[in-house]
């Protein structure tokens, strides 16, 4: 039973991807992938309950035990993030299906669904894997699917952006294998549970080198400044649902990997200055980049980069409160950033341009889209009572509670970044959504634009409704994160305690009593 629960989040999307490659009708493929992505979050939720009540669960694939075989592990952290990620993946899939029917593009549907399901396979495997090499494989599965998604039906501009994205990701993958080879040569194992004590025996220089190489590898994947340059150039060129799923999942899987490896492989007593500097620079430089942008999707991409810094904030503090804050922030950010990109996508489809100066001149995209953008935008800026406020409050309290120059510097940077995020979001709001006085009949003209933009076919209207509904679902999930902040914070805290005391994790992976 437990074995099935652990295997299904990886198996279901993989099998679904294989099935969808058969000559099925487009309708059957849509139903298949929606069904798969409904089952996976349900499975992940069951895993979460199991991990929360009975401790970490492990599956030794094929009966080969930990140091040799492939092990899947679900503890509170991985099950929690798996649940949230696959839920967002489902909402984005519905949006993409809606957009597909609204625009009647048949060709993309052929490649889109298999690639999307493979992407989810990679994400699930990354969350559940118990060894470093499998983490690399999971990243490759996820990234290979993302290369396909970002270049599907590409014109000249998207090919250029996809090229940059692919090459940078491949470079980080090469560095990842290099790291694995070095870690294996130094420690003789790649099982995460075994690596902690083995790496602790190495000399400080060697250990530090491996730690920094790991941070660089995962930093490229998580878009930590100064390793972020690929992200704002490539993400905005893709269609809205693809950008949304990339922004919600790919970088967060990178952050999850940082969180997992920093706690299991390189546990430390206090603040790590390198990570502190990276967090501060990521927050400040990222948001300044966002303020400078004129394109709504590029602006959101820069806020994405900037808010990765908040997640590093908690990891840099390295105590229970800090890690709890990070976990809350990851959950909040997965949901909210996806909602923002979907709402921006709706606005761009209705107005016909992503450039803010041009959006000002056109009719505003309508009240519904404006509200759907405003809620996650306020949440991202940390305005109460939305989820961003809860997550930021947890981080700031953690910083102040720990004290010390580094913690206060982090907290100050976080506050400045929140303020600038609010400024950037206000700018988007006033230029793209609020409309200008001369367009006082803006609801009428907005409705006109909304009616004109999609094809006036029955499928077009239904597709547009589905897009609106899935975006609304995403935004409501964001609100639910704020409403459920209490239970989420408690389970986040338990997950953070697990991270700092990984004995249970180690014993379930390696067998009872054997910690080496």
């Amino acid at each position: 039973m437990t074995a099935a629960l652990l295997a299904l989040p990886v198996l279901l999307p993989a099998l679904g991807a294989g099935l969808s490659l058969l000559r099925l009708s487009p309708r059957a493929v849509r139903v298949l992938s929606a069904a798969v992505l409904t089952l996976v979050p349900a499975d992940a939720l069951a895993l979460l309950v199991l991990a929360d009540t009975r401790g970490p669960q492990a599956l030794h694939v094929g009966g080969w035990h930990a140091p040799l075989g492939v092990t899947l592990v679900a503890d509170r952290l991985s099950a929690l993030l798996l649940t949230v990620s696959t839920l967002v993946a489902l909402a984005v899939l519905l949006f993409a299906i809606g957009q597909g029917t609204a625009e009647e593009r048949r060709r993309t549907a052929v490649v889109f669904h298999p690639a999307y399901l493979v992407l989810v396979t990679g994400v699930s495997l990354a969350f559940l894997t118990g060894d470093l090499f499998n983490l690399f494989v999971a990243f490759e599965v996820m990234l290979a699917a993302s290369y396909v998604l970002i270049t599907v039906d590409a014109d000249e501009n998207r090919t250029r952006a996809g090229m940059t994205y692919t090459i940078v990701s491949l470079t980080s993958s090469i560095l990842f294998i290099t790291l694995i080879a070095l870690v294996y040569a130094a420690a003789g194992t790649v099982t995460l549970a075994q690596l902690g004590p083995r790496l602790a025996e190495l000399s400080d220089g060697l250990r530090g080198t491996l730690a920094v190489l790991l941070l660089v590898v995962l930093g490229i994947k998580a878009a930590i400044i100064p390793l972020h340059l690929w992200l704002p150039d490539s993400y905005p060129t893709a269609p809205a649902p693809i950008t949304a799923v990339f922004a919600a999942l790919l970088t967060k899987v990178g952050v999850y990997a940082v969180l997992r490896t920093e706690t299991l492989l390189f546990p430390r007593g206090g603040v790590w200055p390198v990570l502190t500097c990276a967090a501060i620079i990521t927050m400040i430089v990222g948001i300044l980049g966002a303020v400078a942008q004129d394109d709504i999707n590029r602006l959101l991409s820069f806020t994405l980069v900037s808010h990765i810094g908040f997640m590093l904030f908690g990891i840099a503090l390295f105590d229970v409160r800090g890690l709890t804050g990070t976990i809350l922030y990851i959950i909040h950010h997965i949901v909210v950033q996806a909602g923002l990109f979907l709402a921006a996508g709706l606005a761009v489809i209705r107005v016909g341009t992503a450039s803010l100066p041009r959006m000002t001149k056109g009719p505003p995209p309508g009240v519904a889209v404006a509200v759907l953008f405003a809620v996650p935008a306020l949440s991202l800026s940390g305005v109460p009572p939305f989820s961003g406020f809860v997550a930021k409050l947890a981080l700031l309290q953690a910083g102040v509670a720990q004290g010390g120059a580094a913690a206060y510097a982090l907290a100050a940077a976080a506050l400045v970044t929140s303020l600038l995020t609010l400024y950037a979001m206000t700018r988007v709001w006033t230029t793209a959504f609020a409309g200008q006085p001369e367009h006082t009949g803006h609801s009428a003209s907005g409705r006109l634009a909304a009616a004109q933009a999609p094809e006036p076919t029955p499928g077009g209207v239904g597709g547009a409704r589905l897009m609106l509904a899935s975006t609304a679902g995403m935004v409501l999930t964001g609100v639910a994160v704020a409403v459920l902040a209490g239970p989420l914070a408690r389970i986040g805290e338990r997950a953070a305690e697990d991270l700092l005391r990984p004995e249970a994790y180690r014993s379930v992976v390696l067998g009872e009593g054997e910690h080496r």
Binding site: L68, T159, R160, T166, A185, V190, L229, R358
Partner: protein, 151 residues
């Protein structure tokens, strides 16, 4: 005690140097070649990481002493990584071909929006217009310095 093959280590170093040099070029073909060479370098590095060279592969069970045969795990990892680099190289070639097909050139161009934002201040000083219409042709011509992704 484990020993290491110095020749192999030097070869790995050489492959990494050549690979990264090629990846830093503007030409897509060189980048693809750089990726291939880097892939070879990492596969060799995995084998070097496997311990003392010259041991036979896993034997038929006549000995259980792990020091008698070569460690099979790095070999399995190298195999996986060969498959992955092979598949991705094929994808990269297809993408490079598509890019050549669309643009007619082998070069990786700058991001136009990047360049527009990067030169906003200079152009604003010139024509006193902080919000020029973001036409693609408003992007200034390449001035030879090849401003990268700096914003």
């Amino acid at each position: 005690m484990n020993t290491i093959d110095v020749t192999l280590a030097l070869v790995v170093g050489g492959l990494f140097a050549i690979g990264f040099y090629l990846m830093l070029q503007r030409s897509l073909m060189r980048i693809v070649l750089g990726f291939v060479i880097l892939g070879h370098g990492t596969n060799l590095l995995l084998l070097v990481g496997g311990g003392t060279p010259g041991r036979p592969p896993v034997l038929d069970g006549t000995t259980s002493d792990p020091d008698r045969f070569a460690d099979p795990l790095p070999q399995a990892m190298a195999l996986t990584s060969i498959v992955i680099t092979f598949g991705l190289t094929a994808f990269l070639m297809a993408l490079a071909y598509r890019s050549w097909h669309l643009t007619g050139s082998d070069e990786v161009p700058d991001d136009p929006e990047d360049r527009r934002i990067g030169t906003l201040r200079e152009r604003a000083d010139e024509d006193h217009d902080t919000y020029p219409d973001p036409e693609p042709d408003a992007v200034p011509a390449d001035d030879g310095t090849r401003r990268g992704g700096e914003r």
